[in-house]
Amino acid sequence: MKWPPYSMQLKMRSPRHVWSIWLPLFIIGPIALILLLALFLMVLPFLLLSLLFTWRWNWSRYIWLGVPAFFSILYSLPGLKVDVDNEEQHVSIAFY
């Protein structure tokens, strides 16, 4: 069974700064979801109006199908790791 990422680690190093942050997505995720839901409800009337006006151009299809595609990507994120560095800078992002 697929689950969304429960944590994210971000590391950056530059000649001036070195920092590393661990984001507990399992805490931030539900809060963000509630905020997104609230935002969605607020923009829903405008969204429906835009869908109505763009119905002829089939844009509504992309908007509605984009939501499950977004969640599909979100649930596939665990395991993604990007690590790039050169002599001066280093960036690392990892989802667990």
Binding site: K2, I73, S76, L77, G79, K81, V82, V84
Partner: protein, 144 residues
């Protein structure tokens, strides 16, 4: 099949022994052991889950050609999800992406990308890996 096993099956067809007795006799001759050996054969390799891309610059490379080190691990599930998203890209936007990629020397139509192509790539990478060795860097692409 050994001679003993053939003889037992012959006796079964002639009705000299019952099915249960034949089964018991076959187990004594090692027929079951053959089955056991087959079941203990190494399991088929599990499908790889991640695509790894590693770029390592060479120490002796000229400074102007020296690029950074890259180590990327991408879950195949994410690539599959991304391909689904790519089908939702409006044609006008897809044309722009295609043009931008053509400028970079990659000439293909992203609307024609199929999930089957990815599965083919995964199965190909399952058995092999891509190694590119230049004067400046080494690039390794494999599945794990």
């Amino acid at each position: 099949m050994s001679e003993d096993q053939k003889k037992i099956l012959q006796m079964l067809t002639e009705g000299k022994v019952s099915v249960d007795e034949a089964q018991r006799l076959l187990s004594l001759t090692g027929a079951d052991r053959d089955t056991w050996d087959n079941s203990n054969s190494p399991p088929p390799k599990s499908l790889p889950r991640y695509l790894r891309v590693i770029v390592e610059p060479k120490l002796g490379a000229a400074p102007e050609h020296r690029h950074g080190r890259v180590n990327v691990r991408v879950p195949f599930g994410l690539i599959r999800a991304g391909m689904k998203l790519a089908t939702l890209i409006p044609p006008e936007a897809a044309d722009k992406v295609n043009d931008a990629m053509k400028e970079k020397g990659m000439s293909f139509d992203m609307r024609h990308l199929k999930t089957e192509d990815l599965e083919e790539l995964i199965s190909a990478l399952h058995d092999s890996e891509i190694n590119v060795d230049t004067d400046d860097e080494t690039v390794k692409v494999y599945a794990e």
